[in-house]
Symmetry: C2
């Protein structure tokens, strides 16, 4: 079996490392790639083909993992050449997934939960062809959400809805506690019901959000745009909070 990568960033690099099997060959192309990327390809177990067109034609599974912005262009350019499964891992919104499905035949919607280079990343997949990727469970935990294209990306967005709004709540309540000189006590008292790691986890979430507040705001905007038929009182407040 041949797995082809379009884009050779963290996701592709780590998949090539995790999927460690004699029966699987990895391919990608150096076409228009930066020196840095080519170096990374050379130091991995991935064979280089002349063009991405070749990669798309040869791969049994074509993995598109470049960036959210590039996802649709890649699908338009190589989707029709892909003979096998086309797995999108660009961390895109369900709307983009739906656009992509128009120019790709055997699309599988994929979303990685947890950092790909963490100990236990999980690959969520949806779409009628998703079953054919469950063999990946031998290498990375792989869960099929449903037959519906868009469900894997919607699920990732749902997760973000909760975690990003929670971060905004943590930022606010920690500040109220500080304003009242009770920050340590606030974390201690909540640890009783929220778990011993409440403080550590909360501070990590707060700092991660404050240090990336522009990107987090954009993600919240995307959530608000996509789930616009639901009541989003809390999510909208979180966006307001981050923009303060």
């Amino acid at each position: 079996m041949i797995i082809g990568f379009i884009g050779f960033g963290k996701v592709s690099q780590n998949l090539a490392r995790l999927i460690d099997s004699e029966d699987i060959e990895f391919v990608t192309s150096a076409e228009n790639r930066s020196d840095e990327t080519i170096e990374k390809i050379n130091s991995s177990n991935v064979r280089i083909l002349d063009t991405f067109e070749d990669v798309a034609c040869k791969a049994d599974i074509l993995v598109s993992a470049a960036s959210p912005k590039a996802a649709l262009d890649i699908a338009r350019q190589y989707g029709k050449s892909a003979n096998g499964i086309y797995l999108d891992l660009n961390n895109i919104s369900p709307d983009t997934t739906s656009e992509i499905s128009k120019c790709v035949d055997n699309l599988v919607d994929g979303a990685i939960i947890g950092k790909i280079d963490s100990e236990n990343p999980i690959l969520y997949v949806s779409g009628k062809k998703a079953d054919e990727l469950l063999f990946l469970n031998d290498f990375i935990k792989t869960i099929k959400v449903s037959d519906n294209i868009g469900d894997a990306s919607a699920l990732k967005l749902l997760r973000s809805t909760y975690t990003k709004t929670l971060s905004a709540l943590l930022i606010e309540s920690r500040q109220i506690a500080r304003d009242n000189g009770l920050e340590d006590e606030f974390f201690d008292i909540l640890a009783l019901t929220e778990g011993d790691d409440f403080k550590e986890k909360s501070i990590s979430r707060i700092e991660n959000t404050l240090n990336n507040s522009k990107r987090k705001s954009e993600e919240l905007e995307e959530i608000i745009a996509y789930f616009n038929e639901s009541d989003l009182t809390m999510v909208k407040a979180a966006l307001k909070k981050l923009n303060r």
Copy 2:
């Protein structure tokens, strides 16, 4: 030592049960009490005095545990007669605690976290005299917050700020997941990072909040009134959410 109770509801009943010591005698009064309460007093290990005035005079520790609304009246009526420590456990706002401190000499501000009849309730206390209650640790976990009257009740309010706003967030994100046909998957995916009991705990919080939404709204209003110098974007959104 004599511990006197003004009010003999759940809190007093359970304290009398938990504080199991040969050296401690409990007293209260049946003055103007309902038949039901008198029955409860009779079936406990608490001696009945003629009046609450007697209770206040005789007690080394006078526990006021009636209701938030009655707290200030009780303090005005019996505060000056209390010769020992006056422990307020009426679940009041720090503002009321501060009012009470004007008519009580040896006030200790107390807040019980967790249900008093649960396995591990914790008594938080603050005030200069709070040290004198730390012997209660033999019977119920007792933590001194600080020397400041109001800090124990502020801490309880801070805890509520977080937990009640979190419940509003859970109500909203569960509904978005439902609207997208991904409720089970939503809980599953969050359990990966939030802990195995995420679903059970979240549903319990959601139901508890929805079933008591009027009271929860009032508590959020109290939080907003008390912490009015902090930014309360998330808390105000939670109130709006519950009032929908």
